[in-house]
Structures are given as structure tokens and as C-alpha cells.
Symmetry: C2
Subunit: 197 residues, 2 copies
């Protein structure tokens, strides 16, 4: 190890990022030191900016620099459709696909008895308020196809039943997917939901 | 994507780190924003520190905060043994093993005709100077067991022949290694260098 405590500190902090372990953190730090002007200084500056300005949208939970995010603030996106996602990363994934024109609601996780996450730890009460307040006609449950995701989807569906149209993302063969590599559950879902050509 | 250009900037810069792609950079940035006080702010601060103070040792090429690194500066480590490594990461790996008591010389890469890296692009002239100036009795070539690493080792051995004792790291079965998973070259090297029990 280097005797320099700043460099060691930097390695320790980098190793706390998801996807980086101690070894890749050391590699990343050496890379940063080599590209000081082009990478290390700009990265430090922009981190300071983000630390000062980043906040969660009070309405939907998206991450941005304003109390109300651009999507919630945009009149164009008041289509009456509300897409419920687990996490900001899922919202960004939907936005990259650029096909959904409505607004989002970020739960901030899934219900989990094991981890002690109940409806009040997520943004579920706020979701119910929004359905009324924003005149939502359809809630699209875009939760992950995991056990926890689907449990959460069922819970929300129970809570909103009768008030609004409830839909979920289709399940089936992903684009470019090969049958031989798919699990049985996906093939079963795709067969059950088969379409007329 | 978030509409916030600072957050987008941060994602773009993080994606330039080795081991992180666009997807893991997004995950890391969301993690940083969630752990603002405990991770994002300290990371930004320590990056600024490192950007201001980190430098290469003028003698051996190690990374530290002084013109001459602690190892080169320490009289205890003037054992007459000089360990030649490709990269600072290799020096750190040797130091973690805590078995070598001499000094290091970081080449900063390997000779590579394809990439146009000749002896003058590396710290090879400086190595020859140090062998004389520091009264080195043994040069240990701890270069990677790759084609480029071994080519570089041979070149350095040629340059220093007759002036100093030249050794290289032993090749063989790694500790905890299983024969069935080793390549033929390693097994051949281990058999040739077999030892009396």
C-alpha cells in the first residue's frame, strides 16, 4: 500500500461503491491519479455540485435538482397515466426507452417482511393521494418480475382496486432472446399470453 | 435519464473509470446521492486533496505525496535489492505481501513494438543509473508472466548483464491452486522447477 493516507482514504471510499471491490478501487484510483486533469479534478468538482444540489422530487421521488422534478412539473406529461417503479434507476430505464409519456411514482423499494419494509416505508400512501389529486385514470405497475416486486404490485393493486384502471408490464420473451436460454417461468408466461399473428 | 446536467455529467465521468460501464456508473451515482453525507461529500473532498498532492516518486515511479516516496527515502530499505515491477499496482501488491524489504523500480509499462513503447518510454535508462548510483547488488525482475512482461524482462537482463545479480520470481503452482484448473504452461514450469522434499 502507499504510505499516503489521502490515497488510502480515497481507495477505501471508492471500494464502498456498488460494483467496485478493494482491487478495482485501487485500479480506479491509479487511473484517476494518472488522468488528474481530465478526470480526477472534474469528478471531484461535479461531485461537490451534486452533493449541494441533488434532491428527491417531493411528488414522485425522482432524483433531480429541484423540489419538483421536470417530469412532474411538465403539463405535457399530465396524461392521466402513472407508472409505478421500484427505484429511480427503473425510472431512468423507462425514460431511455422514451415510450412512456405520462408521469412516474418511485416507491423507493419493495415490501419485504424479512427486511421490515412495510407500506409506510415506501411511497404507497403518497401514491394513493396522487391518484385522487392528479386525476389519474391508469396506474401502470412496472415493478421488477421478482417475488418482492410482484408481492408489492399485488398489494398496490388491492389498495387501488375500483378507483382506477390497473395494468402491469407484459411478460414474455425479451427482444433478441433465445428460447434455449430462457427460464421455464418466462416460457410459460410467453405461451399463456400468446398473440394471434 | 435525469434532466439534471450535473447528475448526467457525474454519470458520464464515473463511466470512464476502469471496471465501470454506463449501467454501473448510474447505479454508483444513485448510491452516492443516497449516501450524500457519508460517501459523496467525503469522496469529493478526498479527491480534491489527492488531485492537489499526488505525484510520482522522481526516483522509482511509485505514487505518493512527496517528490521522493517513503520507500526510497527510508535508509532501512537500502538493502541493495531492487525489485522491478511494471506498474504501481504491482508495487502495492508486493507491499501487501510484506515480504520484500528492498526498494522498487516502477517501469510504467512493458516494451511493446505494436504500441510503439520502446526503452525510453519506460524508466529503463533511470534503472541503469540507479543500479550504479545506489550500489544495487541484486535486481529482481517481478514482471507479469505475459509475453510483453517476459520480453521486457529479457531486454532488461541483457542491459544489466555482468553488472549485477539478476533474478526473477519463481513460476509454479499458486498457493491453493488445483492442478486440474491450471494451464499446461504453469504445470510444465512447476514440474521443471520441482524441489526435493
Amino acid at each position: 500500500m502507499s504510505s499516503n493516507s489521502d490515497i488510502d482514504n480515497l481507495i477505501d471510499l471508492m471500494a464502498k461503491l456498488p460494483g467496485l471491490g478493494p482491487r478495482s478501487a485501487r485500479r480506479a484510483v491509479l487511473h484517476l491519479i494518472r488522468k488528474r486533469a481530465r478526470l480526477l479534478t472534474p469528478l471531484s468538482d461535479v461531485m461537490q455540485q451534486v452533493a449541494a444540489t441533488a434532491r428527491e422530487c417531493l411528488n414522485c421521488g425522482n432524483v433531480g435538482t429541484t423540489d419538483i422534478c421536470d417530469i412532474c412539473d411538465s403539463e405535457v406529461r399530465a396524461t392521466g397515466e402513472l407508472c409505478v417503479v421500484e427505484d429511480v434507476a427503473d425510472l431512468w430505464a423507462m425514460e431511455r426507452a422514451a415510450v412512456f409519456k405520462g408521469r412516474y411514482h418511485v416507491l423507493g423499494g419493495t415490501l419485504s417482511a424479512l427486511d421490515g419494509v412495510g407500506p409506510d416505508e415506501l411511497r404507497i400512501p403518497r401514491l394513493k393521494d396522487r391518484v385522487t389529486a392528479e386525476g389519474i385514470s391508469e396506474v401502470i405497475l412496472a415493478l421488477n418480475a421478482t417475488v418482492d416486486g410482484q408481492t408489492t404490485a399485488h398489494y398496490i393493486a388491492d389498495q387501488l382496486e375500483g378507483q382506477v384502471r390497473l395494468t402491469s408490464l407484459a411478460q414474455g420473451v425479451p427482444i433478441g432472446g433465445e428460447l434455449d436460454y430462457l427460464d421455464d417461468g418466462t416460457i410459460t408466461a410467453a405461451l399463456r399470453a400468446r398473440k394471434e399473428l
